[in-house]
Symmetry: C2
Subunit: 297 residues, 2 copies
Amino acid sequence: MQVDRLIVVGTGLMGGSLAAAAKRSGCAQIVIGVDPDRSREAQSLGLIDGAFQNLSELVDHLPPREGAQRLLVLATPVSRYASLVPAISALWEDLDPTLVTEMGSTKHALIEALSGLPDTPQASAMKLRFVPSHPLAGAETSGPQAAIETLFEGARILVSPLAESLPEAVANVESFWMSLGGIPTPLPLEDHDALLAVVSHLPHLISYALAGTIAQGPLGQAALSLHGGGLRDTTRIAGSSAELWADILLDNREELLALMPQWQITLGGMLRALESCDRALLVDALEPAATWRRQIV
Amino acid sequence: MQVDRLIVVGTGLMGGSLAAAAKRSGCAQIVIGVDPDRSREAQSLGLIDGAFQNLSELVDHLPPREGAQRLLVLATPVSRYASLVPAISALWEDLDPTLVTEMGSTKHALIEALSGLPDTPQASAMKLRFVPSHPLAGAETSGPQAAIETLFEGARILVSPLAESLPEAVANVESFWMSLGGIPTPLPLEDHDALLAVVSHLPHLISYALAGTIAQGPLGQAALSLHGGGLRDTTRIAGSSAELWADILLDNREELLALMPQWQITLGGMLRALESCDRALLVDALEPAATWRRQIV
């Protein structure tokens, strides 16, 4: 999809990467960043063409759309949705986007923010053109200086329309992500957070626990240099921002905590086999994991 | 180091990779494989020049050394050491190696096998030229067909001499690994297994538990395709052979189980913060892991 103006709200790692990818692919003519803290930095890095502190400042400088395609993307932490979603609805005529999406790693803050909107024509108009999505791509780094212009190439993009989203808007969001090399995959909005708890939030929690166990043990220092690819890969995402991930894990804590009984059963079975020195039991405990993992290429 | 004849006992992934790396680097003239099950396959893959079923068959065909360098490397599971080490000692004059090393992922089976040897001139001669080592490199695959000729490039090689090892033999083992691109690092033999529990065996156990939890949950099938790099990296080593890793984990079970109290404290702290929705506590729980991991480049 060709976009005349791409507005990225939040210009950290994800928003910055989106801006860079859109410029690189040539699918966006002008990329505008909105971020109180980091839009100037994103602009000086050449990720965006224009920088604004907030949506009010943006609309003061936004020319009339006049038939052009204008895509608005939320790339902030989901904790900002409670104020951002009402602000977009309130400024709907001024922002005048043809399409809105967001990249939140959980969706219930979005669902809450949308359901809390007053029943206005602006809110209804917004929901028609709002299609939540979520690229399953990221990095353990953060900030616009860490932006990766190829971040979405080959990445799965979960597309989770609202009940109100127009089919045309869904098709356009999918087309936009495909322009950046992503692979759009539909996922019902209400299934999103449970899936993410499994494929992202539990792996992060466990990776943090593994790195933390080593860091706080007597061999933490030695392990920094004396290790192989196994340690490096299993702990890579534990290098991610603790502040950012505390928010993500807390935001999806119910779905995440609901996985812990199965975790205890699985690890517990392995530990019992180790304690009782029962090789057959240990092989049986490890085998489902190995069989499952080998199906991922 | 230039080796006229490299004898690799055990021609699976590790032994096969060693053979391939030695041929590639040109540091070994002739590579001989000894393996009852897999030496023929390794030979047909071009990894080795000669294939024997066992050490007795090898010595029947081995020409006199006549001043040449002859390196013997054990690349079998450590469970075979109880019979292999006495066999090498008994065949010492016939094998006549200038240097012996092994690649075991734990060392206590080796220590036991060595200390159980009768006090013979052959056993004493062997210990002078025996220098245990351990490349911190591997893959989740197995068998000679999975051999990787660049496996040791840039890899740390733990070098853990016996009390009896000659300094010249230690230097030669280090030089051999450097010919294959490895980075030799000394580690006292008695510290080896505790370090490996931390940097390899705990990461494998936790990766198996993570993959197993997902595999056995209701979203296991969906997670196979809908995921990003975080899941892929944290579970990669869970695709390793369950049979092989059951042996390794059991072999080092005491050191591994000794890490579980710290594991419970670390994960437990994170879970308590999640349960009580305490953001500051969760950031404090995640931060040591992130700080530690960022020191690995």
